[in-house]
Amino acid sequence: MDSVSHHSLDARNLLCPMPVIRTQEAVADLVPGEILTVRCTDPGALSDVPAWCRINGHEIVTTERNDDEINITIKVGA
């Protein structure tokens, strides 16, 4: 079975567009197929991170929202 590396990015307490900028930087170091989970607290990230992924060809795997935290999991596109 192929193992996919799973990375995590702490973007908590950053206001948009910083979570997007940090996501962009993290994704630049990954290869297609790798998984990145972005942890953030700014609700703006709920629209901005997926929008950034859509226009740059990355896939949103899941979006989870707890009381204070948002976890967005991305599969890096080609």
Binding site: P17, I21, G44, I55
Partner: protein, 364 residues
């Protein structure tokens, strides 16, 4: 005037082996209509376009909408990302917070109506775009500038200043007013057709709205004053106050973010209080409680308060009395606060400050 005499450097002609490749442009995308139309004009001419957007820390973007309830009706979106998605282009958001400080603190061309160093800012952004262009092998840069649109940065005599000082020279194309300007490299090389560029000038928005109609674009961010908080008088005054209080003109990202949020009062030169005006702002300020002394009323509903400065016990009491005035206990005899400093909390009981006694100059 020196500006009019600036010579724009001419770039070397494209190599023949690239003749059949699709030309590539990097477009500055602010999230407003003009840059959207400029990029769209390029796409229409078969140019490969990618967007670039700079985060200076002063941008009026998504986060302020996310914080404040009064903006609930407005979509909570980053307009630059939204524009890129509408156009079907990639967008690169670049953090320029540190480098931008020099633009704000030492603008060669001075400020506009408030603390907006628009001409230096334009030159800086085009310069950053030029660096990106060269690194990524793109051919030219596109902006949504229109001659005469803005009093400082978008005038006929300042257009060559931006081109020259940014280092972009004639690789800088302004599709919305290109027909009124000297020919640039992309036009001379035939990468774009000059006759299909535009000749917009002046402050009227009509040509843009008409062009948007032709492109079928009916949803766009309304241009308001400027693209950043530095054009806002109240914001500029708060930044001046911060510099005066600290005795130096400098800032960190947290400083300039906090100036966007809450009610700021400076009752004494050595301290100020920042109060959330509603739930969203309180939540935002909550994130700063580790860095600042803070207070929350516990006897009545009211704002979260951050206190910036070194305070004596009397100062703390004054801060609490002022904050009580903005709580729902404003007419009560006493309001109790929980005061937290360096992780340690204690209770504080105060009489709300009388509304009419708050000197106007305390309110920033």
């Amino acid at each position: 005037m020196v500006c009019g005499k600036v010579e724009v450097t001419r770039s070397v002609v494209r190599k023949p082996d690239r003749m059949n490749e699709q030309p590539k442009a990097v477009a500055l995308i602010s999230g407003g209509l003009d840059s959207m139309l400029a990029a769209r004009t390029m796409l229409d001419q078969g140019v490969h376009v990618e967007g670039i957007n700079f985060f200076t820390g002063f941008c009026v973007e998504g986060h302020t909408h996310a914080i404040r309830k009064r903006d609930k009706a407005r979509p909570k979106r980053n307009n630059a990302l939204w524009v890129a998605e509408q156009l079907g282009i990639k967008l690169h958001i670049v953090d320029v917070i540190e480098q931008y400080k020099d633009v704000v603190l030492n603008p060669k061309h001075g400020y506009g109506a408030n603390l907006n160093p628009c001409l230096d800012c334009k030159g800086f952004m085009v310069h950053k775009a030029e660096e990106w262009r060269a690194q990524h092998g793109f051919d030219f840069i596109v902006t949504g500038e229109v001659i005469g649109q803005r009093p400082m940065s978008q005038r006929r005599d300042t257009m060559p200043v931006v081109a020259q000082e940014s280092g972009a020279g004639d690789r800088l194309l302004r599709p919305l007013c290109a027909q009124l300007l000297p020919e640039t490299l992309p036009e001379r090389e035939g990468w774009v057709d000059r006759t299909r560029l535009h000749n917009f000038s002046g402050r009227s928005r009509k040509p843009q709205i008409q062009l948007a109609g032709q492109f079928g674009i009916d949803d766009y961010a309304q241009p308001a004053g400027g693209c950043c908080f530095l054009t806002d008088q109240a914001y500029a005054e708060k930044l001046h106050d911060l510099w005066a209080a600290r005795g130096e003109r400098d800032y960190e990202l947290d400083d300039i973010m906090l100036l966007k949020v809450g009610r700021h009062l400076r009752p004494r030169p050595h301290f100020k209080i920042i109060m959330g005006r509603e739930e969203g702002e309180n939540r935002f300020l909550e994130g700063y409680r580790k860095q600042f002394m803070s207070m929350v009323p516990i006897s009545h509903p009211g704002p979260l308060v951050l206190i910036d400065g070194e305070l004596s016990d009397d100062d703390i009491e004054l801060a609490a009395r002022l904050a009580a005035r903005y709580s729902q206990g404003r007419d009560a005899e006493r309001v109790t606060f929980e005061l937290t400093r360096q992780g340690r909390s204690r209770e504080l009981d105060v009489t709300p400050y009388p509304a009419n006694d708050i000197p106007r100059e305390w309110i920033l």
